[in-house]
């Protein structure tokens, strides 16, 4: 019925967007997990006692869907320990004590990229993963026949409340983005590029238009989108920028599109220009409990406690600490957790901000289904899951759910809708795996 996908109006709270980025002091210790991306964990190639430098490879990719990992500090490997990540996987983490000198490794030299093979190798060697939060290895996205890529969509939507690291990237690193675009379009023969930006980021849009004007290798356009969450959801963004529908269970490339986050693109640019792999992240540090919220540039592996310190510390004991924004962010147990490659924000929410109403009876208002960007019926999914009706679950397309949380956000009874969607997805995944065997 609608030509526009639904969604919800979330509060913006992007108070850090016009503040300068703070480059924090080099931390004494960094903890770099091997499971920061989707796919097989990386395999450490250093051992305890080894000296490492900035940009030095410390782990190899653990498979095709995996990436190498680099150190963001110079110093000595003090420990290799087990690290339990938010998905429940345990993988090694390399602990490095920094010497504070930040000596750059000799291996950091710009890669030579003249053809597709060299480009894919370079992308893999860069250690770059989807920096919007998913952490999907970027080289895997581009490892498709170039003819299939009709559009390269740059995700600058940044629809999560508070988070502004992408906005800052677009304003400050548009040159790197432009450089990466020229190489990608030139070598892969991509003809059309669309940058999707929510219309609450006017300054970023100006920077992007300026960048677009300088690129001759492809037709680059900047598309302003309404500030409706989840505008930055991959399939939502594709639909609203190029008008294509990614079929259920398929990837963007099946609709002729590759979507990459703007910070990912900027990082590719930096790597192609200088050879410096992904070793540091611009992270939005915000939330009501943070004294002086701002964007902080931190080496990967820095404990989030140090980010809060760099922002003047916490004003109160936070109710929740998150990786990412409040709509899809992951809670962390304490502040010793490290900044990872796919961390775009760290939140310390006060009790008031993280307040959720008590769950009451469903009144069948239909808000969940009417706000679902994909038109799913969360209340029906929830019921089918609760009573264990797998046959009905299969007909409700729950596997399409991207867990954006609109349904739970709008539910007047605050039912655990997206939460049950996730459980239902897991259940069907397990069942399908069993059937497959």
């Amino acid at each position: 019925m609608a030509s526009y996908l639904h969604g919800v109006h979330v509060p913006h709270r992007k108070k850090t967007r016009h503040k300068p980025v703070l480059r924090m002091d080099i931390p004494k210790v960094v903890t770099i997990p091997m499971s920061m991306h989707i796919g097989a964990p990386s395999v450490p190639i250093v051992k305890v006692g080894d000296e490492v430098k900035v940009g030095q490879k410390i782990a190899e990719a653990g498979g095709f869907v995996s990436v190498p990992v680099y150190s963001g500090v110079s110093g000595k490997v003090s420990k290799i320990k087990d690290y339990l990540d938010a998905n429940g996987r345990t993988a090694p983490a390399i602990v490095i004590e920094s010497d504070g000198l930040q000596t750059v490794a000799e291996t950091v030299i710009p890669p030579i990229v003249t053809n597709r093979e060299e480009l894919l190798t370079a992308l893999k060697e860069s250690g770059i993963v989807g920096l919007g939060g998913a952490g999907f290895p970027t080289h895997v996205k581009f490892a498709v026949e170039p003819e299939r890529i009709d559009y390269l969509v740059i995700n600058g939507a940044e629809c999560e409340p508070y988070v502004t690291s992408d906005t800052i990237t677009m304003m400050e690193r548009s040159e790197d983005m432009g450089y990466a675009l020229r190489v990608l379009c030139d070598i892969l023969g991509i003809r059309k590029v669309v940058v999707g930006i929510e219309n609450n980021k006017k300054r970023a849009a100006v920077a992007m238009r300026k960048m677009a004007a300088d690129i001759v290798e492809a037709e680059v356009s900047v598309k302003m989108l309404p500030s409706v969450y989840p505008q930055g959801g991959e399939k939502v963004l594709i639909y609203h920028t190029v008008g294509r529908v990614v079929p259920e269970g398929k990837l963007p490339i099946d609709a002729g599109c590759i979507v990459i986050n703007c910070t990912t693109l900027a990082t590719i640019g930096t790597y192609l220009k200088t050879g410096m792999p992904l070793v540091e992240k611009c992270v939005t540090v915000d939330g009501g409990a943070v004294t002086n919220p701002q964007n902080v540039l931190a080496p990967v592996g820095t404990a989030i406690a140090e980010l809060f310190e760099a922002c003047g510390g916490l004003t109160c004991d936070p109710a929740k600490i998150l990786y990412g924004g409040p709509m899809m962010g992951v809670t962390v147990p304490d502040t010793t957790e490290p900044v990872m490659t796919n961390t775009n924000a760290v939140m310390a929410l006060t009790k008031k901000e993280a307040w959720l109403p008590k769950t009451t009876a469903c009144i069948r208002c239909g808000s969940c289904t009417n706000h679902c960007p994909f038109g799913l019926a969360p209340m029906a999914i929830s019921h089918a899951y609760k009573v264990g009706d797998v046959e009905t679950l299969k007909t409700l397309n729950v596997e399409t759910c991207m867990l954006c949380g609109c349904c739970s956000f709008v539910c007047p009874a605050n039912r655990p809708l997206v939460q049950r969607n996730k459980l239902a997805k897991e259940l069907l995944k397990e069942l399908r795996a069993k059937e497959g065997k």
Partner: protein, 303 residues
């Protein structure tokens, strides 16, 4: 220290109580108009229904050892809606019986809020219509000459202005169309309801009546404005629990309500059919829901 939970970590602030409060606010103009038109007895009916509904639900949840639910205001809404659908001269004990039927039989015994199959206020009104003769003898404005309700056999239809202001015989809250429409606009603006349901309902009644009344738009409009169509379309047919959630579902539901209202009015033995029509469509809602789910993005071709 930090609490672990799945996202989202913030909420829109929408609440059942807030929605119900909006409905009460939207019904206030009609309630005030009812008291002005029909006198103080209307106020006693309203108070009796609201108080008995709330008290009965509180009592039931207490006895059944369920979490106390009266503070979500849904029982108050049911009471108010029921009262506005009753004539001002009804004996108050009948109001209590009606409230009992609405809250205990239709709502609580089916599992409480969100679980009832039909709208409690509508079902109670139909129950009272069948059980008590008093509903057929409609009340009249305090300073008016008693006559028949506009739709009663042999009665004359008031002019359009009277239909808008509500100075004619009928239930407390159904006669003053202006007050009801103001309430309806408030609900649409507050996004508590959408236009689909009321417009489809009233539109269908208009078109059907237009065809039946010899293509006379004034008469057709009169048929929309009297006999509880407006209050039914705006406040009863939009009840979340007993009507479809999706836009197409709402349109089908509204058209169905309008169609059955007119069929009963023109071909049935009751002069007015709004309550029966809504009750009937309530029962069909699960089926409408099954046909009118949103198409899931990315399934079956382009959206």
């Amino acid at each position: 220290m930090s609490k672990l939970s799945m996202s989202p970590h913030i909420h829109s602030g929408m609440s059942t109580g807030g929605i119900m409060l909006d409905v009460i606010i939207a019904l206030l103009p009609a309630a005030v108009a009812g008291v002005v038109i029909f006198g103080l007895s209307a106020l006693w009916v309203i108070l009796t229904c609201v108080i008995s509904c709330v008290a009965l639900e509180a009592l039931f949840t207490l006895i059944a050892k369920k979490p106390q639910s009266v503070k979500d205001l849904s029982a108050a809404v049911t009471g108010l809606l029921l009262a506005l659908n009753l004539p001002a001269n009804i004996p108050l004990w009948q109001c209590v019986v009606g409230s009992l039927f609405a809250i205990i039989v239709v709502k609580c015994l089916f599992g409480g809020l969100g679980q009832n199959v039909v709208n409690p206020a509508i079902a109670a009104r139909v129950f009272m219509l069948v059980a008590f003769g008093s509903l057929a003898k409609a009340a009249f404005p305090v300073d008016a000459v008693a006559g028949a309700t506009p739709l009663a056999p042999g009665a004359t239809m008031p002019d359009l202005l009277t239909l808008f202001t509500g100075y004619y015989g009928g239930a407390i809250g159904e006669t003053c169309s202006v007050a009801l429409l103001v309430g309806g606009i408030y609900l649409v603006v507050r996004r508590v309801i959408t236009w689909h349901n009321p417009v489809a309902f009233m539109g269908t009644v208009f078109v059907f009546s237009f065809l039946m009344e010899g293509y006379d738009p004034i008469k057709a409009l009169s048929m929309v404005l009297c006999g509880g169509v407006v209050i039914g379309a705006i406040f009863m047919a939009t009840d979340y629990t007993t009507s479809p959630p999706t836009p197409w579902g709402k349109v089908i539901f509204g058209i169905g309500c309008g169609l059955f209202t007119c069929l009963i009015r023109y071909f049935g033995s009751y002069p007015e059919g709004v309550s029966f029509a809504i009750l009937f469509m309530n029962i069909l809602t699960p089926y409408i829901n099954r046909w009118t789910r949103h198409k899931v993005f990315g399934t079956g071709g382009a959206k």
